[in-house]
């Protein structure tokens, strides 16, 4: 029998053309959303083209890091060794941009209430790679 090995925590890709900017901001402790620099339209999932004004001038817009709990689920069936159950997956709506929701996770079993104010924090999961995480404010 070999010694138990601490499972490797999987990390998000940080080199994707469309999404790298989000994780660059997370590494600097900033929460950003994809936004058109021409018309101001905001996109929950990053892309290069603005369907509203047909421009290609997308950028990253910093937001406050305040959110509202939109829904949650408590994972109780073990799936991935890096995520021991129970843990609570939260789906959070941004206060500044209500069309944008983000996912976070909180270790343990939490009975939460939808509408609860949430606050972003940044969890470094590997050298230079951080996740935008959410906790109850």
């Amino acid at each position: 029998m070999s010694d138990p090995v601490t499972p490797i925590r999987p990390v998000p890709i940080t080199t994707d053309h469309d999404t790298a900017g989000f994780f660059e901001a997370c590494a600097r402790g900033k929460l950003v959303v994809r936004s058109c620099t021409n018309c101001g339209a905001v996109y929950a999932l990053p892309r290069d083209y603005c369907r509203e004004c047909r421009s290609w001038s997308m950028g990253w817009k910093e937001v406050s890091g305040e959110g509202t709990l939109y829904s949650y689920t408590v994972a109780e069936h073990q799936i991935h060794p890096a995520f021991p159950v129970p843990y609570t997956v939260v789906l959070v709506e941004l206060v500044d941009e209500p069309s944008v929701r983000m996912v976070g996770s909180i270790p343990g079993d939490h009975e939460l209430e939808i509408g609860t104010p949430m606050q972003v924090w940044f969890e470094e999961v590997a050298d230079g790679i951080s996740l935008a995480q959410w906790k109850v404010r």
Binding site: V11, S71, R101, S105, I114
Partner: protein, 401 residues
């Protein structure tokens, strides 16, 4: 584009399902997915009274490992003139029927085999995190997984848990309301010798006492994982009338994505305007328009049921009840055989087997033929849906009149 050309380009009633076939549904088939597909295809072609050489089109789900040339060669089809696929995954079945109708009415094929085959329990299990989601670096390549899976949001049950929790909080839906869906499907499976849950009853206490998978999703809110295959043969209604079975006429078939569908795979559905209403809402409108039928005309429905909450959302999206009332509608007894909307009369994914929506089509045909093990008296209109979150397809099967 708003009005649909309902005259010259209509497909209403012009094609029919002439043959159906299934393999055994089990936890371990002991054979390849190609062998399973072959069993179902042979059964469907025989059922129609056709020969493999009569089949000139083959359609598959994008999740299938079996391709058109595999089946064409193994079955001995002499010349296939049309093939294709749809997806992702569970959207495929009704969508493929739409492709078959399109191919037949445009003269590209005369008899099209539509199939789905998977070793969903002994092989790749969809209830686990997929292989790509077990990698050390997650996401990219347009999946947008990097915004979801690094947080441990990895399985369908977890995603549907978020949807179910929202519905329960927003509308007061209870565990017992949702349990009524699981129990209705189980009762139908108990009467179906081909179902994995044949003669295996489930009580509300069993349902409530079962372990949580991703709260509020309990064990029996999740579909089965199944080794099995199902197939159907589509041809013109006129030709089907001369074949071995009475035709299950395809009154109409429809797809819809709805607006702001979101890019990526699966989890981005959590970012749409609502997570308790799905593109099925748009599919329903289009299907009603194309078919000239409404929710009130449906005698029996085979509703895609990867999870119980999927069924609940479809009840609302197809207009069988008001938005938010799906739970109370389900627990009123409406979904039982003597209710206003009997569903999943073979047992569905929850209790017959998970053939990714294709077994729902087979059961829909049985209802129209009058041969279901839970036959709805006088059933002349059957709704069949193929509707996981990324988009949705559905059709109306009707008796030949």
């Amino acid at each position: 584009m708003s009005a649909i050309d309902s005259t010259e380009r209509t497909h209403r009633d012009r094609c029919a399902i002439a043959g159906i076939g299934v393999s055994e549904f089990s936890k371990d088939s002991g054979c390849s997915e190609l062998a399973l597909a072959t069993r179902a295809a042979v059964a469907a072609i025989d059922d129609a009274g056709l020969k493999a050489s009569d089949i000139d089109g083959v359609l598959r789900s994008d999740y299938d490992t079996v391709a058109h040339n595999d089946l064409a060669d193994v079955l001995g089809m002499t010349n296939i003139t049309y093939w294709g696929q749809s997806g992702p995954g569970g959207i495929a079945p009704c969508s493929l029927i739409g492709q078959a109708v399109g191919a037949i009415l445009s003269g590209q094929a005369n008899a099209v085999l539509v199939f789905r085959s998977l070793n969903g329990r002994s092989g790749q299990r969809y209830g686990q995190a997929s292989t790509k989601r077990q990698a050390e670096v997650l996401g990219g390549r347009g999946t947008y997984d990097e915004f979801f899976t690094p947080f441990g949001l990895m399985t369908p049950a977890q995603m549907f848990g978020l949807m179910q929790q929202r519905h329960m909080s927003q509308y007061g839906t209870t565990a017992e309301d949702i349990g009524a869906i699981a129990l209705a499907c189980r009762r139908r499976a108990n009467a179906n010798p081909g179902a994995q849950m044949y003669r295996k009853p489930l009580s509300m206490k069993d349902y409530l006492d079962a372990r949580m998978i991703s709260r509020p999703v309990r064990l029996f809110d999740c579909c089965l994982e199944t080794d099995g295959a199902a197939a159907v043969v589509v041809t013109t209604t006129e030709r089907a009338r001369d074949l071995a079975q009475s035709p299950a006429v395809i009154r109409a078939v429809a797809h819809s994505s709805g607006p702001r569908i979101q890019p990526g795979q699966m989890f981005p559905a959590l970012l749409r305007d609502s997570i308790t209403s799905q593109p099925a809402r748009y599919t329903a409108r289009r299907l009603f328009e194309l078919s000239g039928l409404g929710a009130d005309d449906v005698d029996v429905a085979q509703l895609y049921d990867c999870f119980t909450i999927t069924v609940l959302m479809e009840l609302e999206d197809f207009g069988f009840c008001e938005t938010g009332e799906g739970g109370r509608f389900a627990s009123s007894g409406a979904l039982e055989l003597d209710g206003s909307l009997p569903i999943n009369t073979g047992g569905g994914h929850l209790s017959e087997g998970y053939i990714h929506g294709m077994n729902h089509i087979v059961e829909g045909v049985r209802q129209i033929r009058g041969t279901s093990t839970s036959q709805v008296d006088g059933a002349e209109v059957c709704l069949v849906t193929s509707a996981p979150p990324p988009a949705s397809s559905a059709m109306m099967l009707v008796a030949d009149r």
